[in-house]
Assembly symmetry: C2
Homo-oligomer: 116 residues x 2
DNA sequence: CACACCTACTTGGCTTTGTCAAGTAGCATT
DNA sequence: AATGCTACTTGACAAAGCCAAGTAGGTGTG
């Protein structure tokens, strides 16, 4: 099936979240996404995301030699990126809550806020 | 902010899920989406979804007079649509699980099978 | 009847973003 | 030098949501 549309917009936040955990580079991010279950992300999908994020100042880039291949571009999150990610998490949460209601008819009672 | 990308692909499934609950028409679906928290969906967004769903035989259409306006197009889900929706739910679940892991670092332990 | 105002659906052009396929390039092994 | 890994780039494309404007039936007011 076609997950492309379901991925839209989500991927960006996921990539940003991976970078937030620590400086990393494209190929490694691909591995992280795969580990989390996003297995069909190709390089031609990821790299444009990285470029866009960089262009929008949400991440920053540093070039460094790899111990076993060509130069890597190491990315780290910026202040602006961290803020954007916070905002993204909130928007994602809200939308997925709506989707849960509509898709599963959960009235969202079963949340993790058991501490009132 | 721009929720357009986050909505992509999700909306289709949500609309289908609303129709699955019972025959309904565009304007009413808009209300259901709003009730669930999807408040910014305009007519120009919803109707093309309905058209597409119909074209793909996932829903079927019946015209009937409205008690207070122009003709309504009542939609109901087809067998094919129900199957598609089941598949959609699974794909959505999988992707949102991945997103949860990446976004919140939930290792997906907190599932609803606590009786395991 | 003319007009305004709801309800209800339609359409065209635009933008964003993921996908595929092919390409460039450094380094190690043979 | 040829192969094959790692690593990043690029161009053409398609899907789907968004906005704005348009069409049309019905009711109430004068």
């Amino acid at each position: 099936m076609d997950n492309a549309q379901l991925l839209k917009g989500i991927l960006e936040g996921c990539v940003l979240a991976v970078i937030e955990k620590g400086e990393t580079y494209g190929y490694e991010i691909l591995g992280e996404l795969e580990k989390a279950g996003l297995e069909d992300i190709g390089e031609g999908t990821l790299y444009p995301v990285l470029t866009r994020l960089d262009k929008n100042k949400l991440i920053q880039c540093r070039r460094a030699k790899s111990p076993l291949g060509p130069i890597r571009k190491y990315y780290s999150i910026t202040q602006e990126g961290a803020e954007y990610l916070g905002d993204f998490r909130e928007r994602y949460r809200r939308i997925s809550k709506s989707a849960d209601i509509l898709l599963y008819d959960n009235s969202s009672e079963m949340e993790e806020n058991e501490n009132g």
